[in-house]
Symmetry: C2
Subunit: 201 residues, 2 copies
């Protein structure tokens, strides 16, 4: 993707850290970026539109896309498959726009291999206790599963050196401002602009 | 200054680009950073206070400070000397705060040698014509001086690769937002945070 002039922003972090809420809040407040639309094998819910919330595909179609290396990253959750299609990302980058991917840490690793020039942002909880409280607050999982998730989060914090920025998600509006600031700043980066000049028409 | 935890931000660019106006606007809107106080040999004007607008020194005192290498950068304008004293900058950095220097391109070069870990921001005019208009709008200089300044500005634009960020000063509020975003983003930078961790107490 050296020919593109857009910017790929990856927001990642441990489960329960609030990265989804953060990204949704940013989109609600700011029109400066595009959201990545995922491919999924799960059935559309009422009101969901092909190409808007998701690209809906059969498992066979999804596996064919994996074979053809058409995903930036993909994963399986609860029996359904989800993936970030390259064609969507590349289309937006070619339009010189900024695209945001909100994905888990394994997904971010896959993306980094293919787009090392992307902007990688790691969201951390203000504390271990805060993360524990959030996971318990969901009320959906037994205590032993929560403990496993917490142990995993601690392990995942070690990935921080693979990232360019870290945002502590203590107060949502402050965190949204930081996320927005990082994107604006990167758009002003001389390194990125010289890439642009070099690649110019 | 490897022991400090603060951040030095340098705003520079050609004469007439509006970097002073930009920095003043940021200070008026945001309390997230400290301003550098310069040493000068010019006489205090009514209302100016020692240590607030400037540190006022005699030429002899100033030259002694140069000899003792007590300036980050210094220059002469219209028969008066102006310099950025290291003690002020280091004091603020030791307090873990962000300090902003608004200086010319030669000054920025001097600072970069001593603080390569600083954040260097270059302000550019939206166009050659816009810069010419601004310089003429001052109404203080004859046309041949303005032409010299414009030629110098074109030359100075070649220094851009020494900088981390570039801001086009077309609309003041947009430019202020970009400047603020760069500072917030740098405070989230993993590179900077790992410096912090390494240098911890």
């Amino acid at each position: 993707m050296t020919s593109s002039k857009g910017m790929l922003v990856v927001v990642s972090g441990p489960a329960g850290v609030g990265k989804g809420t953060l990204c949704r809040a940013l989109f609600a407040q700011w029109s400066g970026l595009e959201y990545s639309v995922s491919v999924t094998t799960r059935k559309p819910r009422p009101g969901e539109t092909e190409g808007k919330e998701y690209y809906f595909r059969t498992p066979e179609e999804f596996f064919k896309m994996i074979e053809k290396n058409e995903f930036l990253e993909w994963a399986e959750f609860c029996g359904n498959y989800y993936g970030t299609p390259k064609f969507h990302v590349e289309k937006i980058l070619q339009e010189n726009k900024t695209i945001l991917l909100e994905i888990d840490i394994q997904g971010a690793k896959q993306v980094k291999k293919q787009y090392p020039e992307g902007v990688f942002i790691f969201i951390v909880p203000p504390s271990y206790e805060a993360l524990a409280e959030r996971l318990r607050g969901r009320g959906t999982e037994p205590e032993d599963v929560i403990r496993q998730r917490l142990d995993k989060a601690i392990q995942e914090l070690k990935n921080i050196s693979d990232y360019d920025y870290v945002i502590e998600n203590d107060e949502i509006q402050t965190a949204v401002e930081k996320l927005k600031s990082i994107i604006i700043a990167e758009q002003c980066s001389v390194k990125r602009k010289s890439l642009f000049f070099k690649e110019g028409p």
